[in-house]
Symmetry: C2
Subunit: 165 residues, 2 copies
């Protein structure tokens, strides 16, 4: 995503890495942002419809963001730029679509996150940017999807639409 819009191909995918959810961090996130009994307390969670402590869905999404930023940082480090060459800018995200939590994330689960480019849109309203749409997923150690969503991000174009390079 640190490449220019023109360099990104529909269908390309990347593994973003694994994350193991501990009880400590599940509770820590929940105390700040999602203090429901089944995210906070083993005993109360055992009596809930989840039958045990589970991570907040927002926590599982926030971990994706963390791994995605690390992925971008690795891409930047791996790319060679000529001295003085400007790097493409990564723009604003206009939002997320179809965020689904299919399976609860339980204490000790290891979630593997990945991303795949599913679409590119040229924007007449913003000729210097293109919109890249990706399908993101988290899968647990049993191969079950726990999280999927479509992300969108504006990526700078090498050539401004309508102008000669």
């Amino acid at each position: 995503m640190t490449r220019y819009f023109e360099d990104i191909r529909i269908g390309e995918q990347a593994s973003l890495g694994d994350h193991r959810f501990t009880a400590e961090e599940i509770v820590s996130f929940a105390e700040r942002f999602d203090p429901q009994p089944f995210h906070l307390d083993e005993q109360a969670a055992a009596e809930s419809h989840f039958g045990g402590l589970v991570a907040s869905g927002w926590h599982t999404a926030a971990v994706w963001m963390r791994l995605m930023v690390s992925h971008w940082q690795r891409q930047i480090e791996a790319e060679a730029y000529a001295p003085g060459e400007r790097r493409p800018r990564l723009g604003v995200s206009p939002g997320i679509r179809a965020l689904k939590w299919q399976t609860p994330v339980r204490v000790g689960d290891t979630i593997s996150y990945s991303t795949r480019v599913t679409g590119k849109e040229e924007l007449t309203s913003r000729p210097q940017w293109g919109l890249v749409i990706s399908r993101n997923e988290g899968v647990n150690q049993d191969g079950r999807e726990v999280l999927t969503f479509l992300s969108q991000v504006f990526v700078e174009r090498r050539t401004v639409a309508g102008q000669q390079p």
Copy 2:
């Protein structure tokens, strides 16, 4: 939302409260989950396309969750139940739709969050639950939307579909 599915009316809305985003908590969230320069560092943010430090979009959504849980807790406290009467259970959320970040949230911004029920769906696959769909928004002190999305949550039915009460 602590009421039964049958008690919830399409169109009902609630203010969830205000939240002021400080530089300290914007940076604290970003260090854990979204370590991009414009969320982490005043100087780097000033040089970015945002022109100053802004909150991670995931942070603005997580604060909504925090306020929503407080809203449910207030509802529980306000409701009178007879001794032994069972309270309706709040179920799993199958996910979020159309999450949009329209305007950056900057240091010192106060965001007012609210929620409005926009739909109810009876489920043949889960006769003891109904799906409640709500439009949620965060608006800044200038009246500009910073965050909108549709949330979904399963809410227990008083009467299981297909059975007599």
